[in-house]
Subunit: 416 residues, 2 copies
């Protein structure tokens, strides 16, 4: 099995100014190729530390992926460390990257300065992986490390540029290294906690053939993803998936990169149906999830965030009686919110949330972390049917909001 | 200057399943104490690698902070590695952590199992830093490393638990190490790019006394934060801040941990005024930012996400003529959206956004990344005044949405 190291370079990471999301993206991609990531490291903009650490990684792993340390103002240190480390004598210009730099600066209306021009200069022994989304190029160096067989890939630190280059980097790795064939199939589930799920599918897991490996990938927003991996040869996962479907039923909502919002979007688009949201405690997060799917305007009409009782009554038509008798965090209130927004925005489906995200505001009957959720649907006869659910969590404000939103999406999914 | 290393432990990080946000939080806190973070590393759940890497860190830095590798199912490896590394012979029970475990499990309605009980067991030479938010305790070990003076702190990996323990850990570090006195003052600016800002304040920066250091902390959502730091003695930053205010004027919106949404919230609350939002391209993200501030229901009444022209017309009162003549992404449309939601939700202020977040949907006149923003305010005579702004960005869908929302908040802030 090939091994890899991931290094991020930049003082801004060591002082905690930015969170490193690149390493996680990169390791996920490497993992899918069956490459084992041995370590991830962040180091500052310090030439000798860069050379020492990358040299170490090249001696101990087959593939080293570096992000950051490139850019118009800080190009010098990292790029020259890479030049020295790879035994290159000098620099050459990359005409491809120069063309991208010219085009990008022109589109932004920024004049080209010497620092930008310097970004197209690369150590003369590297293979350029052109970066269409930014000015710093991706670079590949081969034949390094104590065995002379390791490769180093250097990518810009800006997350969307680094992620944008990953498909080309992974293709280069597949072409350059003799990797064992590997196939994956991922099933996505929601609503069953990991430990319960593990118990439920234990006999199925025990009956898997030796060459199929199961991984649990729990995620607070996505649910628990179950990934089957087979090394070597063509895999036929179908019979095992069919068995799993019998055990887990409707808890399985998709496969691969599916999310609750992408699955909901696909099903609404196929059925030619529309969706509206009424948010209280989730404060816009539910709408943000729905609109994170490009093209959602095909089925998503919009939402009302009702952060005051006045808006609940005036815009969503929740009755004053309901608010007085049961309060805003109640089954009755989310029923009326969901049917109210369905009518106001004239849609086929609607979801509503009302709860207490915290940190303040709870009571003994409705502690912080409690929310009522509703999913309304218009029936063929024009009447509205509403499914409701009450959930309790005990996390921070932002985590509670994320969980309320995911459970609300799942309630809709189960009632489509 | 004291130095530190930060290590995260867990296979889930190395396979890219989760993004490590703890290291960034921890390094920010250490940085504020004047402690230099030398490196950050992630390693798997592998006993010998843990001992090797942490031993290395303890030999080379004064403070080592470890997160992860603790929990009901994977406690054994990390905790026993720490026991061996610290030269402890055995375990003792922590009654304080046991009490927290009992309370937490009871509140969640989960019976205590042997694995939970084991979480209250700690190496007998450690000082427990009790974790009120979860079952795994924080632990401090002193007198380690090749000089016998380094300290190791072990925290659970769950982000809100790790962050929750940080104040106690930092207090322990301040008590245990003789740190140089350090004072900070941070000014937050929005709307001037970092490079332009640097040019504008260059003479001011050059005139700072030698013992005051300036750091630029740019952030896509917060703007550019300028942090002044003085080592040793009591600092009086006031005269320098006053000078800076003369140069940057209204681009400065706050200090310390202020965000656009917290500053807007404070000013609305003080003035007894209310806010509504009408979102198109930002799809709920603006509302999410406003509601990320606890207690925002004092001034935030709610929002309408109008992802279809129908909702823009029906709920917000945008005229069919405007949409036909100028389109949804136009100054006229956001004017009508902002005044429409201000009237519909009966508030004093309102913000509206309409743009093209991408990836598809642009045109030569309105390329992807274009948005119109509006901030409306009700004047004393009852009429409505609207300020508008057009912005262009060239990032991914999610980054474009973040920037649209920040610029919309800033437009409101400048027009409060």
């Amino acid at each position: 099995m090939k091994t890899a190291s991931i290094c991020t370079i930049g003082d801004e990471i060591l002082i905690g100014q930015i969170v490193d999301t690149n390493s996680s993206h990169i390791s996920r991609e490497l993992n899918l190729l069956g490459i084992q990531v041995r370590n991830m490291t962040s180091i500052g903009d310090d030439r000798s530390r860069i050379i020492e650490e990358l040299g170490n990684c090249l001696d101990n792993t087959d593939i080293v992926i570096v992000t950051g340390g490139l850019g118009p103002t800080k190009d010098d240190i990292t790029k020259d460390a890479l030049r020295e480390l790879s035994g290159s004598a000098g620099y050459r210009i990359s005409p491809k990257q120069m063309a991208h730099i010219e085009r990008i600066l022109k589109a932004r209306g920024i004049p080209m300065i010497e620092n930008n021009r310097a970004q197209a200069m690369v150590p003369d022994n590297c293979t350029v992986i052109p970066n269409k989304l930014g000015t710093a190029p991706g670079m590949a160096f081969y034949g390094l490390g104590k065995n002379g067989t390791s490769a180093l890939y250097s990518l810009p630190g800006v997350p969307f540029e680094a992620v944008g280059l990953l498909p080309d980097v992974m293709a280069d790795i597949r072409g350059h290294f003799d990797l064992e064939a590997i196939t994956h199939h991922t099933i996505v589930t929601f609503g069953i906690p990991e430990s319960t799920l593990a118990k439920q599918i234990e006999p199925w897991e025990d009956a898997l053939p030796d060459n199929i490996h199961l991984a649990y990938l729990p995620d607070p927003t996505l649910g628990v993803r179950l990934r089957l991996t087979q090394f070597g040869g063509e895999a036929d996962f179908k019979p095992y998936i069919a068995e799993l479907q019998k055990i887990l039923g409707n808890a399985i909502y998709g496969e691969g990169d599916d999310t609750l919002q992408s699955v909901i979007g696909r099903r609404l688009r196929e059925a030619g149906k529309t969706l509206a949201l009424a948010e209280s405690c989730t404060g816009g997060h539910l709408s943000e999830l729905i609109t994170s799917v490009a093209g959602c305007s095909d089925y998503y009409k919009g939402s009302v965030t009702s952060y005051s009782n006045e808006v609940k009554m005036k815009v969503l038509g929740v009755s004053a009686d309901t608010l007085r008798q049961f309060g805003a965090v109640s089954e009755q209130c989310v029923r009326e919110m969901s049917s109210g927004v369905l009518r106001a925005l004239d849609t086929d489906y609607a979801v509503a949330t009302s709860g207490i995200a915290g940190p303040g505001g709870g009571s003994p009957e409705k502690p912080v972390g409690t929310a009522w959720l509703a999913a309304a649907k218009r029936l063929p006869d024009g009447s509205i049917s509403v499914a409701t659910q009450c959930v309790h969590f005990a996390s921070s404000r932002s985590v509670n909001i994320e969980r309320f939103a995911s459970y609300a999406l799942d309630l809709l999914r189960r009632n489509l």
